[in-house]
Amino acid sequence: MNPFTYARPTGIDEAVSLFTPDSRYIAGGTNLLDLMKENVTHPEQLIDITRLPLKDIEETTDGGLRIGALVSNSDLAWDARIEQHYPLLSKAILAGASPQLRNMATTGGNLLQRTRCYYFYDADTPCNKREPGSGCPARDGLNRIHAILGHSEQCIAVHPSDMCVGLAALDATVIVKGRDGERRIAFADFHRLPGNEPERDNTLADGELVTAVELPAENFSTHCAYLKIRDRQSYAFALVSVAAALQLDGGVIRNVRVALGGVAHKPWRNPEAEALLVGRPADKAAFGELADALLAGAIGFNDNQFKIELARRAIVRALSDAVEGAV
């Protein structure tokens, strides 16, 4: 790691005021310190936000939950309210990382973790995300784990989070605080596609701090599934993951949500295609149509063509599982 200075504010405004362009906020640190050891990131100052009052899970006035940015992944996944009312989120979190990492990693940090693209992580190779304009060796290189949707000439990396796939399906809201005050960002607008600025993973302005994530009252606790397909059974990033959520009226779809992980620079959804299924029987024909719509325009590379068919089957399977209950 490069040398850096350290600050430990106790208030949110104080933390935000300490920020400089060469600073990074640190909480769990499980991704940031790894990136610093790999010489991918070299901040001059770390602002330790772990003493800020952002550790609670509170009920909101509209019947949802407000999750403080510092709530650890373990505490969130095992919170009785989350397990009971938002099982999709609990299952998504527990599908990611290892118990040790989940004990340190925070809600805010999970949103901000960076891609595990091999070339991004290897500071000796070009990478448009790490060093804009240097090129993307992944396009013609090792790209088994890379994107099939929403990629650009400049970047084919995927967002690595499981938790975010669950949050995307649940239509969460991200609360951030900057020097200009507080902002609420719809989850779908928080992460971004790489386009011509692959160095930007999300829509945060410099110095803005994630303070909370809000879950709406609608929780899909009766019919939901998180399905994660990976190269080994545990402790691996997703090749494809699916957060599926249904509201059923008898056997008829009243509401459906599907978010995909491991396939794009952000959790992938298609609300228009979801809406087309309302009123249809909850069967494999309908699920297959939604899968086709979600994967419309998918383009694979040398090593990851298989992901397109894998994703299609995973979507149908996850939705079929969700019909059975919360799995």
Binding site: Y6, T30, L33, D34, S98, L101, M104, S234
Partner: protein
């Protein structure tokens, strides 16, 4: 923060004071901000039981119990843990009496080279405290953050299964003491 000036008067080295309890012993330490908890233990304090495997949070050899919870000590910096209580593998036994988890690892021959063992032990104790894993499949899943390159997994699992009830009792007793 305290800094020293080099011969040209440039401030170069900053350390920060922290108070941390390690295996029941309170310590006052000065640390560089980039010193990981793992390097603090091994290099600054001389507690080399905690192992550095990958140094990237992938192998679990560096697992310790921070305020009772298992974490990867390689992926956190010591300066952030002012006021914390830490248990390493050296702190599991009571004098010459092995912790039930350690005794079970010996009984079941739950290692070959032993390099992953300190992390396996701390992780297994942390998992027991979490109380979320019961069946063999759940135990395997909940121990997936600890790799064993020798492949001693079957015996590690047997050891953990045998030692969990006694570990649970010990955790309850320790809770009573700290109350």
């Amino acid at each position: 923060m305290s800094s020293t000036k080099d011969h040209s008067g440039v401030t170069t080295v900053a350390t920060y004071p922290i108070a941390i309890e390690i295996n029941g012993k309170p310590q006052q330490l000065d640390v560089h901000p980039w010193t990981t908890l793992l390097d603090l233990l091994r290099e600054q304090i001389g507690l080399t039981g905690t192992k550095k495997g990958c140094d990237h949070g992938q192998c679990g050899a560096c697992t310790v119990l921070l305020n009772g919870k298992r974490i990867n000590s390689c992926l956190t910096i010591a300066v952030m843990h002012d006021g914390a209580s830490l248990t390493t593998v050296e702190g599991l036994a009571s004098g010459d009496d092995l912790h039930p988890m350690q005794a079970a690892f010996v009984k079941h021959d739950a290692f070959q080279c032993g390099y992953c063992t300190p992390g396996q032990l701390c992780s297994a104790v942390g998992m027991t405290a979490e109380g979320r894993a019961e069946t063999s499949d759940e135990l395997r899943e909940h121990m997936s953050g600890n790799l064993c390159r020798c492949g001693a997994y079957p015996n590690i699992l047997s050891a953990i299964e045998e030692a969990m009830p006694a570990t649970r009792e010990q955790l309850e007793r320790d809770k009573g003491v700290s109350r």
